[in-house]
């Protein structure tokens, strides 16, 4: 399960990316943003949207069932 938690950590960027996008939009909307900054934010936003689109479009719900073995330890198995 160690690999599972590591994987989860790597993938935890969707929320970060998404909230970063909201932050970028807010900054773009504000007037005190230089042209260089605007272009930089735009490029960053573009990359983030591509990442988020990719995540959302390719996601597939992963379902596992938790059970207890004879020793009382937790075991995970595929659902159905």
């Amino acid at each position: 399960m160690a690999s599972g938690s590591k994987k989860a950590k790597q993938e935890s960027t969707f929320e970060d990316s998404y909230s970063r996008l909201e932050g970028i939009l807010e900054k773009l909307e504000s007037d005190d943003c230089s042209l260089e900054e605007t272009i930089k934010l735009y490029e960053e936003g573009l990359a983030l949207t591509r990442y988020c689109y990719d995540k959302l479009n390719n996601a597939e719900l992963r379902i596992k069932e938790i059970s207890r073995n004879s020793k009382g330890d937790i075991e995970l198995k595929e659902h159905k």
Binding site: E29, T38, I39, Y42, Y53, L61, R62, I63, I66
Partner: protein, 415 residues
């Protein structure tokens, strides 16, 4: 009995007979009344109280063996229907109702117990808004504690799959009904928390406790005090989704969030992918238009600056100089022309005047010019051989002169 002395009874014998009579005749009674003077005997666990109406009362006892199955604690003033029998306590010669069941009038007994537990836990602060944990907006790992079979699980999977397939769903099958239900759910909560902490499960963002609709008896395990405390002490945010919209359980109050139904819980905990994609579309559109409008605005403002008075002043100055140079040159031209033409006129006039006074004109009138040869001495002074004679005394006898008329010259000799 003739001639026989009346039978003498001992107190015990009388009480025994009364007891037999009463207990024989009131083997099962149902009494409506109000509980008063309620006492719980701490050591024995028996309940002692009085049942009364406006004008009469009767003692009552409920043994521990009976009252332990009671779902609520009787209170003074409670309107109840009691089932039991009438017994006599021979030692004191009094009678009382031995209570088997107490049913609250109006609200059901489970309802009553529910209200009492709710009140108690509420006062303890178990339901305080301030201790509720926020529910993450983008859950990655969700544990669903519910029955391993049935519509709840199916609907929950269907909805989360549609709305937010980026999620990992862990199903923890438990009993959601019957005696063992509460303890298996408590166990599932503990196990989930421990496994998440030890890395046997990934970091769990939300635990959902769910069960479909049912009667208050069916939902009763969710009103378990131990379950409420387990929920309360769990570090992972818990969403409770028990029964239908109208059903409220202690589990709902103790959880960090109550969902009206299991399906509603599936919707509440998941962002909608369709909406997220729409937002991304909007973001792409807006950010592009922001950048565009920014560059357009900047371009316009550069043009504005370019057109501004101060920015154009040097040009203006040059133009002004052009203009004044033009002006000056025009004026110079004008002055010069005027001067020239005035001079021309003057010359013309002089010419006319000169014409009038010219020798030529006079000659035509009949005048003649007398010239004589110049002496050598005089030649040094003037280069003309001829000298105009202006006085008669200048001429000597026999001197040759030249007479000039307007058409020609003639020689003459002075007498």
């Amino acid at each position: 009995m003739n001639g026989i002395l009346p039978e003498i009874l001992t107190v015990s014998e009388l009480n025994a007979q009364i007891r037999e009579l009463i207990e024989e005749n009131f083997r099962v009674v149902n009494i409506a009344g109000e509980i008063s003077n309620f006492k719980l005997h701490v050591q024995s666990g028996h309940y002692y109280f009085t049942i009364k109406d406006q004008s009469s009362q009767i003692s009552a006892v409920m043994w521990k063996s009976r009252n332990s199955t009671l779902l609520f604690t009787p209170e003074d003033g409670m309107q109840v229907i009691i089932k039991g029998r009438v017994t006599v306590y021979p030692a004191r010669g009094n009678y009382q109702v031995e209570v088997w069941e107490i049913k609250p009038q109006g609200a059901g007994e489970l309802q009553l117990r529910f209200e009492q537990l709710k009140q108690r836990l509420y006062e303890e602060g178990l339901f305080d808004e301030s201790i509720k944990k926020p529910i993450p907006a983008f859950p990655e790992n969700v544990v669903l504690i519910t029955s391993g079979t049935g519509a709840v699980l199916h609907d929950f999977i269907r909805i989360t799959e549609r709305r937010y397939p980026m999620m990992n769903l862990f199903i923890y099958p438990v009993n959601v009904q019957g005696i063992s239900a509460a303890s298996t759910m408590i166990d599932a909560l503990h196990e989930t928390e421990t496994a998440s902490k030890r890395g046997k499960l990934p970091k769990i963002d939300i635990i959902v406790i769910a069960r479909g609709g049912g009667s208050i008896e069916d939902l009763w395990p969710f009103n378990d005090e131990k379950l409420a405390r387990a929920i309360n002490s769990c570090k992972i945010p818990i969403v409770s989704a028990v029964g239908h919209e109208v059903d409220f359980t202690i589990c709902d109050f103790a959880s960090d969030l109550r969902a009206p139904t299991p399906s509603a819980a599936a919707e509440i905990i998941t962002p909608d992918t369709k909406e997220l994609i729409e937002n991304l579309d909007k973001f792409s559109y807006f950010s592009r238009s922001f950048v565009q409008s920014k560059t357009v605005n900047l371009r316009n403002s550069i043009r504005e600056i370019e057109k501004s008075y101060y920015f154009n002043r040097p040009k203006d100055l040059v133009y002004n100089f052009y203009q004044s140079v033009d002006d000056i040159s025009r004026r110079i031209e004008k002055c010069t022309n005027e001067k020239i033409s005035s001079l021309k006129n003057q010359v013309k006039n002089y010419g006319k005047t000169l014409h009038h006074v010219s020798p030529e004109t006079n000659l035509r009138k009949g005048y003649a010019i007398v010239k004589k040869r110049v002496d050598i001495d005089e030649m040094r002074l003037q280069f003309d051989f001829d000298k105009i004679v202006t006085r008669a005394s200048q001429l000597r006898k026999n001197e040759e002169v030249e007479l000039q008329f307007h058409d020609s010259k003639k020689k003459a000799k002075i007498e």
